[in-house]
Symmetry: C2
Subunit: 560 residues, 2 copies
């Protein structure tokens, strides 16, 4: 099976996750008071890769990057918005789902990354509702098929026009021999709680389900005749807006374009450096250069320059860039530099202002960025060295890592003081993983008193031996051993099977409970990835390849 | 990638899941009072397939079939046994895990089935402890590597000899580029609750971990010097025996060989028929031919002929046979025939005697058989027709099915009374699925009042329309539509991608919570199946193929 990466459009050499609303090709975002309309109107020609067209509001990763951007902007730039109306700009079709030609020609790695990002985007829509009171109402004015219906499933409320033809469907299995893998199966059973046998009927019925049955089976929340649609949408928008606590009078901040400078050696952001070398990506995060602002108003004034937000946006972009463009990177090494006391001061500032909408959004953003790190299929390593500032929020990267190493004492010939680690309130619940637990609670599943001991140490400056004693780092090493140990470890890591590590880490990182969100990335995604390897889907005679050719797929009939 | 089924040893044409202790080749089962010793002493030549030898107590499916049999026999034939000592009969090695040559030469389907069965066996060891007070102490006298350590992980207590060399290890990733997929990763994080970074170190350290560190890291419960081993084992056995409620004086029943007659058309058991035709396996279960016995003593007297036990054993064997030998079967169709009142009478009999060890074991066995049905990768369909007896325990097969159809009224020209369905106490908790919920609770996740309504209807004789109204069947159909609807459905089902259906069903069947057990079959198994498709593991230059050849595997270094 050929598995080359497809050619990007317009001569680009990398997938870029930054988007600019003034240049959106696929979405129209309009804001009217506390209601925003996000209109999907995909530009057929505006594809990320060469070789296909985005007909019928089908999407590729490029479309989803704009969607993810729009959701973030609504959170930060339009804090007064309480309801998003998710609608289609095309007649008789809401969205036809992921573009099949794109999928059929995509490398396995791109398919996996595409699904991961689109899943994160849909989780982000749900998070906006849960964490921020920014509700989404999906208005389906035609066909919502496959990924189109999966997008609707992320909304708080699904309205389907009752015109005798508009339907929702998950035709992936009958048409393409793959799963509705963008959360579809999991949201049908665990969010919409559709009875399992009805879910079976629904997911094997190509034409989908419409009208009253769609409501009875819990697939949509209501069906509305065309003549009453706008009135009904306005009514629902008012109802949801009334439930939202978003700040009516607040003025947003602009998410300015990130400053990035790319060279052969890596990327330089403002507060983040990425160094690419020998199949490693070393991400260095820099601590704040000044004390926190004097007030919440001053934080708003700083806007996207406010250190915690700037750092999080840069880290997010760096993570996505490595995921999608640097397949040969075996491990991400996290380093930091700066004053831990200043990092903690920012955490305290955000704690003190946690009722302020912007502080809440920034904490929420960090939560999502850290979840993205958890789900990144690269080995994650934290190196806690003299001069580093892994404290509070930044310490989460140590706990997100598969392993962490901390240097004991000073380095020979270096006058930097010994490395320290510090915990803060923020490490005990502000940043839950997708399993619903904090990283420290996930770490200390065996014995809750370990978590208590860590809590008791919050605020202390922990040296390497103390951190190791508390179970916060994997190994504390002397300067004599440091270089060799870490070199040998990283070389060994890079020598292991890339796939084996992906599977291993996807299991070891998520001990303990599963949630709907974690099930999407475990049960659903892992099965989908398996299917994305099977000839029935991706082989030359498989359903993905043969779709639209007029030739039926030829299946291996063996059940495995 | 060639994926032919390997040749079975001794000219056999099917894998047989029945075993006879007098003919075990790999295990020695001895019973001494309330302690049984299960000695693993694998016969190198006694392989299931041709082409490899089972060195160093490595195993294949044949070895595991005997192990599963031994555990069941201890539950039924030796009710007085309270503790199993799981030991090796070989010097310096406990168990080297799944045989690598076997895996390297196995078809994908066999690998998947092998892992599923071995997982079920290990879950069975844990179930014996939880449900029956039959505890397992694993005594590791040498190397417990890979599947060897995974077997130990199923025990209640792991003792490791402290001889400076004996170690436990999960070297699958570094050696073979696959996962410790027989529950290993999940039990390390979720049962032993090993800290995730230590788990990472452990699972990437080929030589494993021994001595005090193995205890400190929670990998084993104790290390014991060789000179004190027997004394320590005896002491632990006494401690565990003291906690068991198993009946000291009880006499077991013999699990006599199943009567089976195989023909081109299928298999005939005593209470079960399997008809194989047109990619369908129709399993018909027959109700009891007589009323329940008068007393628990009379039940013991009937032994393996006691209807609920006989039926469950036959259903289990039929399910396993289809799984492992009939890959082309797309769907299993469940039918039944008999008197529903008699089925309910047996359920009531078991309810009334639920404190009796044998009644408890039979209920527990049904629980496991039904879980095996849930995990069977074939579409499951129940047809509730006139003359059927889907009541109480047998109704669980309707709820385990992906879809169920029930005929309304009589058949033209048939004097059998209309089909009925009946619920009993047993449907509301006696048979939890691997997600911890009853099948009805899993079915009615959306609205608990649906479950209440079903409870209120327990004991009633429900016709098709009543059953449909209560949500107990997918469709109630008239005689006029029946044949066509079901034919079209089954033909359509068989036309879909086999893999797609496997993934779809593995998601839709398990809505709601996940448990350690369900995580093993979801997160861990699905990732392992993916890896079992990836060239880094199974390609010509992959680690599984190259293991032991002296040649290093060549890996695609891209992280997906």
């Amino acid at each position: 099976m050929a598995d080359a990466e497809r050619k990007l459009n317009n001569g680009k050499s990398r997938i870029d996750f930054q988007a600019d609303p003034s240049k959106y090709r696929h979405w129209k975002l309009t804001v009217d008071g506390d209601v925003a309309t996000l209109l999907m109107d995909v530009d057929e020609k505006g594809t990320l890769f060469e070789g296909y067209e985005l007909k019928l509001n089908s999407y590729d990763l490029g479309v989803d990057i704009e969607l993810a951007d729009a959701i973030e902007r609504l959170r930060f730039e339009h804090p007064q918005v309480k309801v998003i109306l998710l609608r289609s700009g095309k007649p008789r079709v809401f969205c036809a789902g992921a573009n099949i030609r794109m999928l059929a020609g995509a490398s396995h790695a791109h398919k996996v990354n595409f699904c991961k990002f689109t899943n994160e985007t849909r989780n982000g829509i749900e998070d906006a509702s849960e964490a921020s009171g920014l509700f989404t109402i999906c208005v389906i004015n035609g066909t919502a098929a496959g990924g189109g219906y999966e997008l609707a499933l992320a909304a708080d409320h699904i309205m389907l026009i009752d015109d005798g033809s508009s339907a929702v469907s998950l035709p992936e299995l009958p048409l393409l021999a793959v799963l509705p893998g963008t959360g579809g199966l999991t949201r049908v059973t665990d969010k919409r709680k559709v009875r399992r046998d009805r879910a079976d009927v629904f997911c094997t019925t190509e034409e989908g389900i419409k009208g009253k049955r769609a409501v009875d089976w819990r697939l949509v929340d209501e069906v509305v005749p065309a003549s009453k649609l706008e009135e009904a949408v306005a009514k629902r928008a008012r109802e949801f807006a009334a439930k939202s606590q978003r700040p009516a009078g607040a003025k947003g901040i602009a998410l300015k374009p990130l400053a990035r400078e790319r060279s052969a050696a890596g990327v330089e952001y403002g507060m983040v450096s990425v160094e690419l070398r020998a199949r490693l990506a070393t991400i260095t995060l820099r601590g704040p250069q000044a004390a926190p602002p004097a007030s919440a108003e001053a934080m708003v004034e700083q806007g996207a320059e406010f250190w915690p937000l700037k750092l999080a946006r840069e880290l997010d972009d760096a993570t996505l860039d490595i995921r999608a463009n640097e397949f040969d990177v075996a491990a991400i090494v996290f380093k930091s530099s700066g004053d831990p006391a200043q990092v903690l001061a920012y955490d305290q500032f955000l704690d003190a202002n946690k009722e302020h909408w912007l502080a809440r959004e920034i904490r929420g953003f960090w939560k999502r960025v850290l979840k993205r790190v958890d789900l990144t299929s690269r080995s994650l390593v934290a190196l806690v060295e003299p001069g580093s500032c892994f404290a509070g929020t930044l310490a989460e990267l140590v706990f997100a890592s598969d392993r962490s190493y901390m240097l004991i004492g000073k380095r020979d010939g270096d006058n930097k003081p010994p490395a320290t680690l510090a915990l803060a309130t923020v490490n005990f619940g502000a940043y839950p993983m997708s399993n619903g637990l904090s990283r420290l609670a996930s770490r200390f599943l065996a014995d809750p008193t370990d978590l208590d001991r860590a809590k008791a140490a919050a605020g202390e400056t922990l040296d390497a031996e103390a951190a190791e004693r508390l179970g916060l780092v994997t190994f504390a090493l002397d300067d004599i051993d440091w270089e060799d140990e870490i070199r040998v470890f990283l070389e060994e890591r890079a020598s292991f099977s890339a796939d084996g590590l992906t599977g291993l880490e996807a299991n070891l990182r998520f001990g303990g409970p599963e949630t709907m969100e974690s099930k999407i990335f475990a049960r659903l995604t892992a099965w989908q990835n398996w299917i994305f390897q099977r000839p029935n889907a991706v082989g030359e005679e498989g359903a993905l390849k043969r779709y639209g050719t007029g030739q039926k797929p030829a299946f291996d009939t063996r059940r495995v």
